[in-house]
């Protein structure tokens, strides 16, 4: 289980890093999205992998924390997902505006000299 998820995170990071180093803005935006999946999964996995024990309590009574998944990384990732969406949107708009202004979708705002 851990191995599979770790490999998944690794490939997401590889693809993401490769893409953010590319010259076209669209590649960078896809790369950032892939990276944010990887980072979210990484933070989430800090709480260790637990199956079938969501952090939802039955109600009143004493609570044994070991019987549930760790809620803290989940809370962190939940807001990270929403903020990640916001930054993707912002970046998309910046790249659209830059493309309108400069006429190119190269990350430096101009085509490289050949």
């Amino acid at each position: 289980m851990e191995l599979v998820l770790a490999l998944g995170i690794g490939f997401l990071v590889s693809s993401g890093v490769w893409l953010i180093l590319r010259p076209r803005t669209y590649q960078v935006i896809i790369g950032l999205s892939l990276l944010s999946y990887a980072v979210n999964l990484f933070i989430f996995s800090m709480g260790r992998l637990v199956v079938d024990r969501p952090p939802v309590l039955p109600g009143a009574g004493t609570v044994d924390p070991a019987a549930y998944a760790d809620p803290l990384p989940q809370a962190l990732v939940l807001t990270a997902i929403v903020i990640g969406f916001a930054t993707t949107a912002l970046f998309l708009v910046v790249l659209l505006a830059a493309r309108g202004l400069t006429g190119t979708d190269h990350v430096d705002g101009r085509e490289p000299e050949r």
């Binding site: 609570v63 809370a75 903020i83 969406f85 949107a89 659209l96 430096d108």
Partner: protein, 970 residues
């Protein structure tokens, strides 16, 4: 207690006045003067009322806790010494206000002047009566800032701007050094309270940190008091209006440095370090200042250098470390303030009435303005140290002290000679000032015909000169008791016997005075002809200007070195920067593992689930595919990225994170839609793959590929190791055990978000709102690229189809595009609203909550846009996303503030279960209200961003019309 509150008023009044003064209309010269004068006079009266208490040796203080955990308190503390300075600040402040009323031209922006002047007064007052070292440093920097504004008052004038900037750079930089020095003192003593510090002199002097702290504090004080080698800002500050010079450079700003030296004198002085640094700075300033003053051609320049020299005199006195010298220093601070303020004002009058301050052009003004001339003569004589004037008394004490001290060093040995020579120079420049300006032949071609100034403009000078006279003649009766209060406050039990008599008999100091007077006159006679024609500045040393050195250094650091560094280390290209960031991140991740002796364990296959592995197989293929396709097949890349997102989402479900799965799924939808909307505005990719890849480009790709592989492998190893390491105890247990008993919810993730860490969430939704508004603002001015304006290819094909078919009109196919799905989407609207409400309401106990519900509702709106088009939706529905954002944020913030009403800290939550008839037992926690704010904001922000992009297609119609019109014209 009343006195303690009056103390606060002493600082509050000027700042309040400053705000008021800034709000009066520009033409209100008289009301400005009345306001400022009233406030200064009130402050003066308050100060006077303190005297009886202080005369009994008491200290008035007003401690107010500010940040007690850092030892920072807003303590105000008034003792005799602070009182003397308060009298100077408010007294001379009032005279300056009166003078400025007549000096300033109605064309100048008067409110700004008085506003800055009052604010400066408040800051200076703060320096003087701060009872806490950090508070003192704060007011100290405030004086730097307001003096910057005052010196640069005529900001259309290049010299004023330069002078102001130089003063700020030097005194502000000195202030930073001072702050560090004071923090060190606080560290040694264990308290920043002035009372504690003054009581721990021995502790500080014997501490290892004494020398660095001393040097830093002296850097602050010596820059402020324009001591050599930092003296050059003061002459450049003469570009300020003359009232400012009269105030800042006689009684206040530059005196702050010597004030601090005297304030900390009991604690810091008496060591060799103190004597050497302060003594050297003081004596060289004393001598050089006096020498340079002789050769100035500008009246104010002469006075500026003379001020530098007199401050050097005070510094020298303080360096000696004997109580009697400290008495003389304090006495000279007062005397110098009186005669120098009046001389500055006289110089201002001459400038005002004759139109120039150049001593080569001024001459014989006595017959035009006899009163002013007489006043200036008396003040000038005081500056020269002529008997029966106040300047003479402190100068005699200075001469006596230089003779008395015997540290046995060279510096000590030369002190009497330096003092006498500087005394002679002082006589020379004073005589020059008076003789050149008021005597000699009648002036030729002055810009104006000089005459006496208005009565009230002369009053301040008359008053100050009167002070010089009576203090000079009967010192014991006039200044005696007040000086005594100040001296006792500094010296305490070490206060020596001293006498303020004019006549001490024939002794060596007397002889030194005589030598200085006669010598000074002789020097003047010798130089008179040279000075009448020479250019500005001392011979030989003219070109060696501190100012130029300073500017060179500044230019080198801020311009040449910066350019050099940018040219050699910088790049404006994004890719190398990102490459560097990734590389550094990789190294930063690797380093601790390397240091800690990391060993990779063999992977375990326990609990291996083929289904999960298959899912991730798909996920990995999607990620790699997206990376491969992102350049030439954007849509495919987007779909593949979505695939990776879905796998992420399934992973959340698999490992007991339903909340995350719900949110991830919903966010996945909006992200995809968002990027789909954006795709339309990106340039077309060439179909043919460019095969002519150059060798460097191939190199870059290989490098990036290796970097990507290594980063991915590193993350995989890191994640695997993390996941297989046993879990340490974390704060999660705290949240788990208290979620229900204290947060009133069973969904712990949601309780953490809206209750335990509600403040963080408030910050996060604020960020979200700001991002949405930024997107909105950016797109308001968005212009699509030229090649994206036209009708899209799909629409063009459909229109061609209509055109070709006989029974169809153009646009019919486009109009009915996705007819059936649109109808379904429209019908789904209420369903989605219900789902959203359901997600929201169950959020506290079951997976869901404000974030998920907000995005769900946003998707509901979004579907309507997709189904009906922008125009169709907006004809029927007013969504107002900005208001959703605003109200969401307000609800969240007010919920947090609501707990103040019940006396709890911000965002303390409250909960109770309420039985709603026929529906359910509902948890009515205040956290639910907070979650409502989150919900509102998320809806608003998401919808705003999506709509803003969607609106671009309406604009492109407009852009197309404009282009078409332009084409027709052309």
């Amino acid at each position: 207690m009343t006195e303690a509150n009056l103390l606060l008023l002493l600082i509050v009044l000027p700042f309040m006045g400053s705000v008021l003064a800034s709000m009066l209309p520009g033409s209100a010269r008289n009301s400005e003067a009345w306001l400022s004068g009233g406030i200064t006079l009130a402050a003066f009266a308050i100060a006077v009322s303190f005297f009886p208490t202080l005369a009994q040796g008491e200290v008035i203080s007003r401690p107010v806790e500010w940040l007690p955990e850092y030892g920072l308190s807003f303590t105000l503390r008034m003792d005799g010494f602070a009182w003397l300075f308060t009298m100077l600040i408010t007294g001379i402040g009032f005279l300056v206000v009166l003078y400025a009323r007549y000096y300033m031209s109605p064309k100048d922006p008067i409110p700004r002047f008085f506003s800055f002047l009052l604010a400066f007064m408040g800051a200076m007052q703060g320096v003087v009566i701060s009872g806490n070292l950090i508070l003192l440093a704060i007011f100290w920097e405030l004086t730097s800032i307001f003096s910057f504004l005052l010196i640069g008052y005529w900001h259309h004038n290049q010299a004023a701007r330069d002078g102001a900037r130089m003063a700020l750079t030097l005194t502000g930089g000195g202030g930073l050094c001072l702050l560090v020095g004071l923090v060190m003192i606080g560290h040694m003593v264990g308290s920043y309270e002035l009372d504690d510090v003054l009581a721990s002199g021995n502790l500080i002097r014997e501490h290892d940190l004494y020398a660095p702290a001393l040097i830093l504090i002296l850097l602050g004080a010596l820059t402020k008091s324009a001591q050599f080698p930092f003296h050059f800002w003061l002459p450049n500050a003469m570009a300020a209006p003359t009232p400012v010079s009269a105030y800042l450079h006689s009684a206040t700003m530059v005196k702050a440095g010597v004030f601090l030296l005297a304030r900390l004198w009991p604690v810091l002085s008496g060591t060799d370090e103190w004597f050497l640094i302060v003594g050297f700075a003081g004596m060289s300033t004393l001598l050089l200042g006096a020498f340079f003053a002789i050769f100035q051609q500008d009246l104010k320049g002469l006075l500026a250098y003379s001020t530098i020299s007199h401050l050097g005199l005070i510094t020298t006195l303080l360096s000696l470390g004997s109580p009697l010298a400290a008495v003389a220093a304090i006495f000279h601070m007062i005397n110098h303030a009186t005669f120098k303020a009046s001389l500055f004002m006289a110089a201002g009058i001459i400038d005002h009435e004759a139109g120039t301050r150049d001593m080569r052009r001024l001459s014989g003004l006595f017959s035009f303005m006899p009163f002013t001339a007489t006043l200036a003569m008396v003040a000038g004589a005081a500056m020269a140290g002529v008997p029966l004037l106040n300047g003479f008394l402190s100068k005699e004490m200075f001469f006596a002290e230089t003779l008395e001290q015997h540290h046995g060093s060279l510096l000590d040995g030369v002190a009497p000679y330096v003092a006498t020579i500087a005394g002679a120079f002082a006589v020379t420049y004073s005589v020059r000032f008076i003789h050149t300006v008021f005597f000699g032949p009648k002036p030729v071609d002055l810009p104006r015909i000089p005459h006496e100034p208005p009565h009230w403009m002369r009053r301040p000078i008359e008053f100050l000169v009167l002070m010089c006279l009576i203090v000079g003649i009967v010192p014991g009766l006039t200044i005696g008791p007040y000086l005594d209060v100040g001296v006792r406050a500094v010296l305490g039990s070490r206060t020596p016997e001293y006498s303020l008599a004019v006549w001490h008999g024939f002794n060596t100091p007397m002889l030194m005075s005589v030598i200085a007077l006669v010598g000074g006159l002789l020097i003047y006679l010798a130089l008179q002809r040279y000075l009448a024609r020479s250019v500005d500045g001392a011979p030989y040393l003219r070109n060696l200007k501190g100012q130029r050195i300073f500017e060179r250094i500044l230019v080198t650091i801020s311009w040449r070195m910066a350019r050099w560094a940018e040219a050699n280390f910088g790049t404006r290209r994004l890719q190398p920067q990102l490459r560097l960031v990734v590389f550094l991140a990789f190294i930063a991740g690797l380093w601790p593992l390397f240091r800690g002796g990391f060993q990779l364990e063999l992977p375990r296959l326990a609990g291996f689930d083929p289904v999960f592995a298959a899912i991730w197989f798909v996920g990995i293929i999607c990620a790699l595919g997206a990376a491969y396709q992102a350049k030439y097949h954007r849509l495919a890349a987007l779909v593949l990225m979505g695939g990776a997102g879905i796998v992420t989402c399934i992973t959340f479900v698999w490992f007991s994170a339903p909340d995350l799965a719900v949110t991830q799924l919903l966010v996945e939808i909006v992200t995809t839609v968002l990027i789909l909307l954006g795709l339309r505005w990106l340039p077309k990719r060439l179909e043919a793959v460019d095969n002519s890849v150059t060798a460097p480009a191939r190199m870059r790709r290989h490098r990036d590929f290796i970097l990507a592989m290594v980063s991915g492998a590193g993350m995989a190893v890191l994640a695997y190791t993390m996941m297989t390491t046993p879990m340490p105890e974390t704060i999660s247990d705290f949240f788990m055990t208290r979620a229900y008993s204290e947060g009133g919810g069973t969904n712990v993730v949601n309780v953490i978000l809206v209750d335990f860490r509600g403040f963080d969430t408030l910050g996060e939704i604020t960020v979200l709102g700001i991002v949405a508004l930024t997107v909105f603002a950016l797109l308001r001015r968005f212009r699509p690229a030229f090649d994206s304006i036209g009708v899209t290819e799909q629409q063009r094909i459909q229109n061609e189809f209509d055109d070709a078919a006989a029974d169809r009109e153009i646009g019919a196919t486009v109009r009915d595009y996705l007819m059936v799905p649109s109808v379904i989407m429209q019908w789904m609207f209420p369903v989605i609203i219900t789902i959203s409400a359901y997600l929201f309401l169950r959020g506290h106990d079951l997976p869901g909550g404000g974030f998920a519900a907000g995005i769900a509702l946003a998707i509901g709106f979004l579907l309507q846009y997709l189904a009906g088009g922008t125009r169709w939706v907006e004809d029927r529905l007013r969504i107002l996303p900005v208001k959703w954002i605003g109200f969401g944020l307000l609800i969240a913030a007010f919920t947090g503030m609501g707990s103040w009403l019940f006396g709890f800290p911000f965002l303390t939550s409250f909960f109770r279960y309420v039985e709603i008839p026929y529906i359910a037992k509902m948890p009515a926690a205040s956290a639910l209200l907070f979650d409502l704010g989150v919900f509102g904001l998320v809806v608003g922000a998401t919808v705003l961003m999506l709509i803003a992009i969607a609106h671009q297609s309406i604009r492109s119609h407009r852009a197309r019309a404009v282009e078409a019109a332009r084409a027709e014209e052309g």
